[in-house]
């Protein structure tokens, strides 16, 4: 065998290699490869027409149903400007979207939570200003919710899903047995904790291993003690903003609760993604659970009997003498669609037209209501009264509508590095590994 042939062969091999590598790295979402769900449209598959834009959503719950249905309507009406839809798991998505944006491979419609994450996209020019194109949609939704996607008066993200306030769930049967009333103030809550412990039942369930459920506690307590201004100063990047006494006081209250055995034993090992925190509530091992409104739908699936008889829900208690309005709520204001700056004009036009004409029109809102979600749309009282879960949706809807301030989850409101620091330090507070002072010092270092 001649040496030349070997060389030629090797070169050919190298070329093939490069090609393989290029293909491996370059499966762009826009090319509609395998795994693309064409919006679950009525005609299924893409035999006729063409897919011009893509959307990435999150698996599970109300949202999945909502996006599939509504994009199905769009694709049926616009076979030549179809929007493909792909789903990802929560944590996987957060990492994937970032890499995709950085590499210029982002989908047309980018799913997000508004707040600090979206702000970063805006600052980097990854998403487009769509103030003019989505004016009708912004008119349809509550201003406090639309605000989550608006920066400097320009719309970069529009709400696409339910509002998710954090709600205090309780097991009425457990409370009755222990003779405890639903607490409306922090003092009542602490005395309920003592009584419940005497009756041998854990007061609060919390999924500590997932870390983010801890946020709900500090967010509500900080707001009740010091009002929304304390955290706003952090968002504005004021040096030493975490030194606001409201934070230290809220952290002290949390540690008081921990020391009073307020949380179920072993709470550091409970994971939210396995719904173990909910299981403690409906099996009667814990009396209360502070969680987002999104768990209602999984409670209905996992414990239908309990939801029918025994489940109670209310707002977070007041803190006597606190500066915050007891009507303030925390949670996820909504999820948002943003449009990628690297998308083609055709894709952008299809995406914004879908947003403006379909999202939160009457049909869209009805699908959301039927699935048990709270639409951030004004004037729905009568419709909600007729819904299956009128009591629950009504409470959540009123909370959203009446709230003077709706605080987005801090891990979404802050930039990613500060959010990680926050979760780690907060976990140490709940595990009594650090003091409020140490927390404040550590968090102040993340500013600036």
């Amino acid at each position: 065998m001649s040496r030349r042939r070997v060389i030629a062969g090797s070169i050919g091999m190298l070329a093939a290699l490069t090609l393989v590598a290029a293909c491996g790295g370059g499966t762009r979402p826009g090319q509609g490869g395998t795994g693309t769900d064409d919006g679950g449209g009525a005609d299924g598959g893409g035999a006729s027409g063409s897919t011009v834009a893509t959307a990435w959503g999150l698996t599970g719950g109300v949202n999945e149903v909502l996006y599939k249905e509504s994009l199905g309507w769009w694709n049926e009406a616009n076979p030549d400007a179809r929007i493909g839809l792909e789903f990802f798991a929560n944590d996987a998505y957060k990492e994937k979207i970032r890499t995709a944006l950085g590499a210029g491979n982002a989908p047309t419609l980018i799913y997000g939570w508004g707040g600090g994450g979206l702000k970063e996209y805006v600052d980097n020019g990854n998403v487009v200003d769509m103030t003019a194109e989505t004016a009708n949609l912004v008119d349809r939704v509550l201003p406090s919710v639309a605000a989550g996607g608006i920066f400097d008066g320009k719309v970069y993200g529009v709400p696409n899903s339910q509002s998710q306030p954090v709600i205090l769930y309780y097991n009425q049967n457990v409370l009755d047995e222990a003779g405890v009333a639903v607490p409306t103030t922090w003092e009542e809550l602490m005395s309920a904790v003592a009584t419940l412990n005497e009756h041998g039942v854990a007061p609060f369930s919390v999924a500590g291993q997932s870390k983010w459920p801890y946020l709900m506690w500090i967010q509500y307590l900080t707001d009740r003690v010091g009002g929304p201004e304390a955290f706003q100063a952090v968002l504005d990047g004021e040096p030493g903003a975490w030194s606001d006494p409201a934070f230290a006081e809220a952290l002290t209250m949390i540690q008081d609760l921990v020391k009073a055995d307020g949380f179920v034993s072993g709470y550091g090992s409970i994971a939210a993604d396995a719904n173990a925190d909910q299981a403690l509530l409906y099996t009667g091992k814990a009396a209360f659970l502070l969680q987002g409104s999104w768990i209602y739908s999984s409670l209905k699936v996992d414990a239908p009997d309990f939801v029918a008889d025994g489940l109670g829900f209310t707002t977070f208690p007041e803190v006597t003498g606190g500066a915050g309005d007891p009507l303030d709520i925390v949670g996820n204001t909504s999820n948002y669609w943003s449009v990628s700056a690297t998308a083609t004009d055709e894709a952008k036009a299809a995406a914004t037209s879908y947003l403006d004409t379909i999202v939160f029109d009457d049909d869209y809102t009805q699908v959301l209501l039927d699935a048990g979600g709270v639409p951030p749309v004004a004037g729905l009282e009568d419709t909600i009264a007729k819904a299956d879960d009128a009591e629950f949706i009504g409470l959540a809807y009123d909370m959203v509508k009446q709230a003077p301030h709706f605080q987005l989850s801090w891990d979404q409101a802050l930039a990613p590095d500060a959010a990680q620091e926050l979760l780690t330090n907060l976990e140490k507070i709940f595990l009594l590994q650090s003091t409020p002072e140490q927390f404040v010092d550590a968090m102040n270092k993340t500013i600036g």
Partner: protein
Amino acid sequence: MTVAVRTTERVGRPGSASGAARRRTGPAPWLALPALAFFAFFALVPLLGVVVLSFTSWDGLGSPTFIGAGNWGRILAEPLTQRATVLSLVVVLLSVLFQAPVSLLLGVFMAGRQRYREVLSILYFLPLLFSSAAVAIAFRSLLDPNFGLGAAIGLDVLSQDWLGKPHLALGVCLFVIAWSFIPFHALLYQAGVRQIPVQLYEAATLDGAGAWRQFWSITIPQLRYTIITSTTLILVGSLTYFDLIFILTQGGPGDATRILPLDMYLRGFRSFDMGGASVIATILVVVGLTMSLGLNRVSGSHRMESQQEGL
């Protein structure tokens, strides 16, 4: 330089030293090219990329900006990194101390001829077949204090806050890692023991040596290179453990199980500090290479002499 010189000598040993290279038989060196190209493209290029990234500031969205040694100073001075480094060393040390003896004993047992040996060997081997993600999820459910194993069989000892208390969580991680990796190392030892000539044991028996003496004077010395191979794999492997701990604890509670690889990942893909994550990645590469080269050197296995001369 000395290393390179010695390598040529070793390769050239069979022929006369001067003409060995030209008269080499066997496959043409060109045939190594595809493999080398793969290695360069998938290992060396990304590695260089990471080193370059470690001198930049990049949040994954915009374009990286060159900031010199800024990341290095910042990351090395951070208490979080220092804790992660110490923790990594602890994990490496405890992994070796725990896994090596257990694997050795299991391997020796599996190489024997005892009754039920094969059934037991299959049981020992099972963890190797499971994906580590599945193992971690299964253990997390088993260790759930309220709905896990402890609650199921009514043993309060098992209903601890396994993953929520710092020391317990680290212990659990080490145990689960050992549980998943010991079968592989036991397999190495089993193969090693099977290769020891039976005459050695026969002669020792004639000389009146007991089982204990035979183990220390024949089995262990004969397994020398297996021990080195297995220990190197445990060392370097435990330096880069990621998936099991990530799924079990995500580095928590607090930062009690945040070892370097996890720290790298969380910095890179949760905090989006790609520069800082690249610094840690580079450190891990250097430490890992140094450790395996050092172990080879200290143990003298680079000479790879025969263990069975005179047999």
